[in-house]
């Protein structure tokens, strides 16, 4: 009797096993979802689904969401959600297109646009970190305000044409048959993943999101981390807007509308939580975006109404939150 008990208590800690992490970690469920989507695409649509041409089409549409997702991940990780990213993309593309149409060169137009985005991110940070505003509600306000500003910038026509041939060539460059910026966005995701999981800074961000009081007691400046995360998310959205304007050669009222839900739904499916910080991984987030894009692509190739995408995304979202809770997230009563 006693020996058995002793045996079970004295069991050595399980050795680090990357394969078990794949099966149980925060990226596990999205890995399976992603494989399932690819499998469904392969069997239902056929080899065409995984052809370079098709992946290249998906990649082109994924560039902006991937960039925005990679930069807004740290905000989610540190426990503040920034809903204004969609409008920020719209605002950034409108301001950038306006400056280009006024004859500015792309580099200085981009610099001014990014600074403007950082200013609005700063307002978010003051309201949320400075005054203790509820992040969801405060950034919802910023979402609407920025949309208004973008629409005012776009003027009565509701669109600005700012086609710049150098920008367009740069953005639509391809390597190995895939869009260069898509590969860059994937590289960005990989860098973000390394920073979040392997560096001191990334661990600080996770600590703040996991338990801000404990993090504060451990000597981490919670305020600084959250301000930096909100500024980073604004910067990423600004960058996304500039790339968007470069891709389209114009900015319009619809640019970026609803992007925040598209990105956050995918990030949550990918293992992030918008209600508690400290969980999620940029790789999972990117896989979430790829999976949702895959679903939408399958329905598109099968000529099925795009509204079914929203239904599937909504159901996946609920399933993802349920999984997050079962994995140790806060139960709501």
């Amino acid at each position: 009797m006693t020996t058995v008990a002793a045996d079970t208590t004295a069991l050595p800690p399980a050795p680090h096993n990357p394969w078990r992490d794949v099966l149980t970690g925060s990226v596990a469920s999205i890995t399976f979802t992603f494989i399932a989507v690819v499998a469904v695409g392969w069997f239902w649509v056929g080899p065409k689904f995984l052809s370079f041409g098709n992946i290249s089409i998906m990649g082109t549409f994924l560039i902006v969401p991937l960039i925005v997702g990679a930069f807004s991940g740290p905000a989610l990780l540190s426990g503040v959600v920034d809903l204004s990213i969609g409008s920020m993309v719209g605002f950034s593309s409108a301001l950038f297109a306006l400056l280009i149409s006024l004859g500015w060169d792309p580099a200085s137009a981009a610099a001014v646009t990014l600074v403007a985005c950082l200013c609005f991110g700063g307002i978010n940070a003051i309201a949320i970190v400075g005054f203790g505003a509820e992040p969801i509600a405060a950034t919802l306000g910023m979402l609407v305000a920025l949309r208004g500003i973008a629409w005012v910038l776009l003027g009565s026509q509701g669109a600005i044409f700012a086609f710049n041939i150098d920008m367009f060539n740069l953005v639509s460059m391809t390597i190995f048959g895939l869009p260069l910026f898509f590969l860059l966005a994937i590289l960005l995701t990989a860098i973000a993943a390394v920073i979040v999981t392997k560096t001191r800074m990334g661990r600080h961000v996770q600590a703040v999101g996991g338990d801000d009081r404990a993090a504060a007691r451990a000597g981490i400046s919670v305020k600084k981390v959250r301000v930096a995360a909100l500024l980073l998310s604004a910067f990423g959205a600004g960058l996304g807007g500039i790339v968007f304007a470069g891709q389209l050669g114009s900015a319009a009222r619809a640019t970026g509308v609803g992007l925040e839900f598209q990105v956050y739904a995918a990030l949550m499916i990918g293992g992030y939580s918008i209600l508690r910080g400290g969980v999620g991984n940029p790789v999972g987030g990117a896989l979430g975006l790829l999976a949702v894009a895959g679903v939408s692509n399958i329905l598109d190739l099968k000529a099925i109404s795009p509204y079914y995408v929203n239904i599937i995304v909504g159901l996946l979202l609920l399933a993802a939150v349920l999984l997050d809770r079962l994995r140790g997230g806060d139960a709501y009563e």
Binding site: F131, G141, G148, N310, G314, Y332
Partner: protein, 329 residues
Amino acid sequence: MSLNQAIETAPPAVPLKVRFGGWGTGLMLLAVWLLLIVATGLYRQDFFSQQTVLAVAFTMSIVGVLAIGQGLVAISGGFIDLSQPAGMITASLVAVRLSEAGMPLIVVIIGAILTGMVWGAFNAAIIVFAKLNPVIVTLATNFIGLAVLFLVFQLAEVPLNSDIYHFGRASFLGLPAIFWPMLGLVLVVGFLLPRTKYGRRATAVGGNRAAAKARGISLKATRFAIFMAAGGFVGFAAVLFAATAGPFNPGSGNAMQLNIIAGVILAGISLAGGRGNFWMLLLSVGFLSTIPTSLVFFGLSSDTQSIFQGLILIIAVAIDGYRARKGTP
């Protein structure tokens, strides 16, 4: 048991400062509202007209009723119900179909309210049984609901010359007929919530879940009741919406969402739950509904409206957060 009853019947012991703070919200809202009215009036004399009053009262009606539902969810600790647009459009569609079938107005109203309550119960079922946060659940159900609605219909409208059509265009005592039910509902809910057992329970659950549970209040039952009641208000708002909107599509309700949330927060109904006076909704929704008309008189485009609404929401939430931070040392 006796302790339980004592707590439920005793008037809440509120420090004088906090009670004054509640009225402070009202005074501040009134001052800001009057400032807006006076400023617009000084800029353009013709702002003071029956037309302005009609426009403001009209805007207030639907937003006000939806704000009651939103306020109930917030005060009971449910944070925000993001699925109001889908719920309202579903109930509006039911109202349209019922009036197309020639049903009398009362049947149309009951049908819409029941639809709203079923929608609320659907949300509550997911929230309670899966123990998921209402914000995410309602975000997802709104997503799913609107997509299904787009598959079901593209454009709907109540038939001309039906009862509900005339109700939407009638006026009573110089104001739109749809304004009076909103006023009555806000007054009744604001009166009953702090004075009835159920109202105090809802507020208690929002204020401190653990304490409410320890007192024997069923969190699940309260959550269900709150979401169904809030759904009922969404259903009634759907009647007012269908009566006045003309042809509408599944996306027509989205624009109201922000005004409703801003109205609830400005009224001092904390998103953290447990605190708030529903009568303040009349002032906050009134103020927010005056902004569009004022901007028109200032000669600003309707695009600038969203800038003001957004900034006001940020300021309101910042004040709410500052208060909550001061309240809990």
